[in-house]
Amino acid sequence: MRIENLKAGYHKNVIIQDLSLELGKGEVLSLIGPNGGGKSTLLKSISGQIKPLGGTVFIGKDDIKHIPVKQLSKRMSIVTTERVRTQHMTCRDVVMAGRLPYSDSLGLFSKDDQSSAGRAMELMNIGDLADKSYEALSDGQKQRALIARAICQEPEYLIMDEPTSYLDIRHKLDLMDVVKKLSSEGVSIIMTLHEPQLALRISERVLMVRQDGSAECASPKEVIESGMIKELYGLTDEMYSFISKSFV
């Protein structure tokens, strides 16, 4: 994936200016930065949920704008922060929705689809919740179901907005293992994270999105050595020394 001079924002209101970067196969890129800085807006522009205000996102050689939605659905999947309301859907139904790009024209699933969804549920540790009603799940379990849904879509690019929200510490760390595994299988992952510690641990590169809309890409090593996190979030010395202990 290659991003060229991307401008992101809403209604002509540019939030992110001229971002360019390239993402290799199996690379993990995390977006970090303060609340309201535009991480989600940037992520939505990359995945095409909102139209970029300028610039281009290329997948392979193709401009993402010109890839038909059907084709794109087999190459890219998303996890959003919106709360999904369902009626009479089990956890399995929600996960299976990720297999719709592969189902037949009536939306019926094959054995392959079933087993792929099954694997994704095992991976996200929700196998035993499969037949429970989605509405009856806890917020954390729902979040894991939505991630499993995106995984069983078998994308080349997995784009997740705050995938760790609602998750307890154990499941956050589990999710990082899943991310590592997917990346080793060649899936490229872009996600926003609220925990710089996790971002620095899991990512090949982090993209720091500042309050003023500028964004800078760096390796975890550079970020830690230069103490950029402190400036990015506007932390005091005391705060920074408290969290920097977990960077090693």
Binding site: S73, V84, S105, L106, Q153
Partner: protein
């Protein structure tokens, strides 16, 4: 568990089919003149000497039962489509004022075109109702773009319904008596005017639309998790939304053109089917809603004909009586679920 779900589906469909056949037969047999099953079979297959029974069945009851079956099913599916569009289980053609929109344009048509020229046709009637449905739906969509809240949307729909009804009343007040006779019996909502030609026309129109709706079921399936996820699994959201509105309007326009506005079937039936199937998967819910809508409508029409026979009630009186409590129950339960 998955096996359970499958056997539940089979049982529900078998039950629906059984009840549907029974209700259809009842609608043929029961009336001021009772015609028994044996005689009906004779009329259909071997021919009978009893001309009077034959005329009652072939000219009156059969077309009416067919019309009720087709349009009742269409109405339920129309409601189901609107519920998917607005992501709101309480949406339906009647409550959102769409039926009233169709009624208004049909009134205009009957008074100004048919009244003046004396000519009418099925196609024109349905087209007019369709135009009215689309206009009312257009307003609802405009409003829904600025208010996301479910209750406000329903209130807006009810208001649009009132506006259209009052325009219809104005028209009636200024129309000639001869036009009103025609209009009045129709606007009451009744299948009493059904004939075989109309039934066949509805059969083809609703049949074709239903095939298209079934072809859309994969996209409708994707819509269950909202627009963003639907797009991400390859649904062309804009095209799909237009298709949903067109089909839902065709189906409800058909009903309004032939029987006038019929209340609550569009909401109550899909709800009951979701509850009995414990699923919201469109590919099973669409045919189930169609069958259940047919049953609901056939039985309501039977009651409307028989309770105060020979006086006929309008069918909405019956469907409201049974449908409205279901909707109230549904709202209360939804509220309770949300609190828990």
């Amino acid at each position: 568990m998955q096996k359970n779900a499958r056997s539940r589906t089979v049982i529900v469909f078998a039950a629906l089919l059984f009840i549907l056949i029974i209700s259809f037969i009842l609608n043929l047999c029961v009336g001021t003149v009772q015609v028994d099953m044996k005689k009906i079979l004779e009329i259909f297959f071997t021919g009978t000497s009893d001309i009077k029974s034959r005329n009652i069945i072939m000219d009156i009851r059969l077309p009416r039962a067919l019309m009720t079956l087709i349009l009742g099913g269409g109405l339920a599916v129309s409601g189901f489509l609107l519920q998917t569009y607005f992501a709101n289980p309480i949406a339906g053609p009647y409550i959102l004022g769409i039926s009233s929109g169709a009624k208004m344009t049909v009134a205009l048509f009957l008074i100004f075109i048919v009244g003046r020229s004396g000519k009418s046709s099925s196609v024109l009637l349905v087209l007019t109702a369709f135009a009215g449905s689309i206009i009312a739906t257009g307003f609802i969509i405009l409003i829904s773009n600025s208010v996301k809240n479910m209750a406000s949307l329903l209130a807006a729909g009810i208001m649009i319904g009132y506006i259209c009804s009052s325009v219809t009343d104005f028209l009636i007040a200024f129309a000639d008596d001869s036009d009103i006779v025609n209009l009045h019996s129709w606007s009451q909502g009744s299948f009493s005017g059904a004939d075989m030609k109309g039934a066949l026309f509805c059969f083809f129109l609703v049949g074709i639309t239903m095939v298209l709706v079934m072809l859309l079921s994969k996209s409708l399936d994707a819509f269950r998790l909202g627009e963003n996820y639907a797009r991400s699994v390859g649904v062309n959201v804009r095209v799909c939304r237009v298709a949903i509105i067109l089909m839902s309007s065709i189906l409800s326009a058909c009903v309004t053109a032939y029987a006038g506005p019929v209340s609550f079937i569009g909401i109550a039936v899909p709800f009951l089917m979701r509850e009995s199937l414990k699923s919201s998967k469109p590919i099973i819910l669409i045919p189930a809603s169609f069958m259940a809508g047919s049953i609901f409508c056939l039985l309501s029409d039977l009651l409307a004909r028989r309770i105060f026979a020979p006086t006929e009630l309008n069918i909405s009186a019956v469907t409201s009586l049974f449908g409205a409590p279901i909707v109230i129950f549904m709202i209360i339960r939804r509220h309770r679920n949300r609190e828990n």
